[in-house]
């Protein structure tokens, strides 16, 4: 687990990326959310032994990341950090699915290894797409998009608040844990210590929430958050959605990679 400081750093980076102004940033967030959801569902709809046919899908996160000016290193690092759980479960496949599918040279390749590879590829694609979405849209805009797509307003407001106070509370927690670490001499803290630390943090949070609430009431808050930004679902958005979704459908039903493979085999002697 990364340290709290590095996580806070990461959060700030994401918010900064979202503040840039590129072709992708200017698109209506709803279009980006819809396309990303379609991408994830279509990638997940392949059967468990698909590896090669998933590769062309990488074009979606890559193209968006490049057009939106997202650094490749940042993306790679964060996807790598998020993968372990899927990979851990995936690594069991070779033990339970031992049927040999083909030999690569003298190396027998079992179905389990293929499905394990498939899980790894899926993980990279779906996690990458989600990261690209929020890094190029910004969390408040994603919330607004989800609200536009039918999410209840109370829940949208809940997420906006969460996002706004995340940074404050993560900093608060980071200070507390740093103080605890300095006093515990390198040992992992005991559950009782952590419990009272969390209890104090909770009470501070509660008081903070009450102050915030009063301050908001004083500024005429009536249960609704207003945004300065207005979005329009124009021709560019329609083209974006239709273009990407039809590309995903084509890639879903026509195995482009086999075509490429045979093409390459033909060209090479």
């Amino acid at each position: 687990m990364a340290s709290i400081d590095s996580i806070a750093e990461n959060l700030r980076h994401l918010d900064e990326f979202a503040r840039a102004d590129t072709v992708v940033h200017r698109l209506d967030p709803r279009a980006k959310v819809v396309v990303t959801l379609a991408f994830v569902v279509i990638v997940a709809s392949f059967d468990r032994y698909t590896v090669a046919a998933l590769m062309p899908f990488a074009v979606f996160p890559i193209a968006l990341a490049v057009l939106g000016g997202l650094p490749a290193g940042y993306l790679a690092k964060n996807v790598a950090l998020a993968i372990p759980f899927a990979l851990l479960i995936g690594l069991f496949n070779p033990f339970f699915d031992r049927e040999v599918v083909f030999h690569l040279g003298s190396l027998p390749v079992t179905a389990g290894w293929i499905s394990c590879a498939s899980i790894a590829v899926r993980a990279v694609l779906t996690l990458g797409a989600a990261l690209v979405l929020v890094a190029l849209t910004g969390f408040p805009a994603v919330c607004a998009a989800l609200e536009g797509l039918g999410m209840p307003r109370v829940f949208a407001a809940q997420m906006q608040f969460l996002h706004r106070y995340l940074f404050v509370l993560v900093d608060d927690a980071a200070r507390s844990t740093r103080a605890l670490a300095l006093r515990s001499g390198g040992n992992a803290p005991r559950p009782t210590t952590v419990a009272s630390l969390l209890g104090l943090l909770l009470l501070r949070t509660w008081q903070r929430a009450e102050r915030i609430h009063l301050a908001m009431l004083a500024r005429a808050y009536q249960g609704e958050l207003h945004s300065r930004e207005t979005w329009r679902f124009a021709a560019a958005e329609v083209a974006f959605v239709i273009g990407w979704v039809s590309l995903f459908c084509i890639l879903r039903y026509y195995d482009l990679t086999r075509l490429l493979g045979t093409l390459v085999a033909r060209v090479l002697p």
Binding site: A52, N93, L202, L203
Partner: protein, 352 residues
């Protein structure tokens, strides 16, 4: 313990999305009606607290590993189940988007495992039953610890069921259960202990926070809600799995249904025909027909066991080559775009 996109099938993911979305809609209405919308800032800030609290690890005695607070139960004790469910769900959305924890398709599963089960099963059916109306400190602790263990066991079991039902992982059900449940038993006990300590702490410092809770959380409306959720899950799951089992390619099948044709007309004309013709002309690897798109699952079932190794090798090699080429092409497109973006911003300068 976050469920991951990579292990999920669309049918399972979609079912739990539907269930969780229904839960969010219901709870949002409930919170708006009962709690008044001005409570939302408190929920929001407590969500941020939970988020921060999950980053603080504690050691789990006797295992050498460490765990962190799940928080669903704690929030249910502090806020009541409806507000707690919304808060946990919002934390999970943020984690899915910011840290790619799990992913978007798995969001429904995660909200169900970590939000619904603690708030609507462990809290009313275990915690409230044991704690009763006016619990003393000991009773409060026991109720919290037992409820935390139950909630986490159910959550871990949820992960197992969702994974096995999706069929992407080959882990057999029994092995996976025997692996997940004991691991989460240890975590659950420690989490329960920590949650109980926090509740006791709050109870001592500001007892009015805990007393302000609506005491009727275990009453009948909840049972109705549970039944409604089960029905929704059964119906969506049934429909989706029918889609999925009718044909290994649920999507393909549903499209065939939508277009009203037994098979898609594409093979005879259009892009597919052109591609197929191209494929035929350039095919040198012996068995390009091995995996005609719809037969993808035949490797899985072993129907083709009699196939000679030669043909499998051929198709696999072309798959590997093709896959790598496609990946390289994807990156190439990336580089080209980057170059164009650079050129545009270099030439256009102040295009804002």
């Amino acid at each position: 313990m976050h469920m991951a996109d990579a292990l999920l099938s669309p049918a399972v993911g979609g079912t739990l999305w539907a269930v969780s979305a229904a839960g969010i809609a219901y709870c949002a209405r409930k919170v708006r009606d009962d709690l008044d919308e001005r409570k939302v800032p408190l929920m929001g800030v407590l969500g941020a607290f939970l988020f921060a609290a999950q980053m603080i690890n504690f050691s789990i005695p006797g295992t050498g590993s460490s765990g962190h607070l799940g928080g669903g139960l704690l929030l249910a004790i502090l806020l009541g189940p409806h507000a707690a469910f919304l808060t946990v769900a919002s934390v999970l959305v943020v984690q899915a988007l910011f840290f790619a924890d799990g992913g978007l398709l798995a969001l429904g599963c995660n909200i169900f495992n970590l939000g619904f089960l603690p708030a609507f099963v462990a809290y009313p059916l275990v915690y409230r039953r044991i704690a009763g109306a006016r619990p003393g400190p000991l009773r409060l602790s026991v109720a919290t610890i037992v409820a935390a263990v139950v909630g986490l066991q159910l959550g871990a079991f949820g992960v197992v069921v969702e994974t096995v039902a999706s069929g992407i992982s080959s882990l057999p059900f029994s092995t996976f259960v025997l692996f997940m449940q004991p691991v989460h038993l240890a975590i659950g006990i420690v989490e329960g202990f920590v949650t109980a300590a926090i509740v006791a702490f709050v109870h001592r410092a500001r007892p009015e926070l805990l007393d302000a809770l609506p005491a009727s959380a275990g009453a009948r409306p909840l049972r109705a809600l549970l039944l409604a959720f089960l029905a929704a899950a059964a119906v969506t799951g049934g429909v989706l799995s029918w889609f999925a089992s009718k044909n290994p390619d649920g999507l393909e099948w549903s499209i065939a249904r939508v277009t009203g044709a037994d098979a898609l007309p594409a093979p005879e004309q259009g892009v597919h025909a052109a591609l197929a013709a191209l494929q035929e002309r350039i095919a040198v690897l012996p068995d390009y027909a091995f995996r005609k798109s719809a037969e993808a699952a035949s490797i899985a079932t072993g129907d083709e066991a009699g196939d000679d190794q030669e043909s499998r090798l051929g198709s696999s090699v072309s798959g590997i080559v093709g896959g790598s080429v496609a990946l390289v092409l994807a990156f190439l497109i990336g580089f080209l775009l980057k170059w164009r973006v650079r050129a545009a911003s270099g030439g256009g300068g102040s295009r804002r």
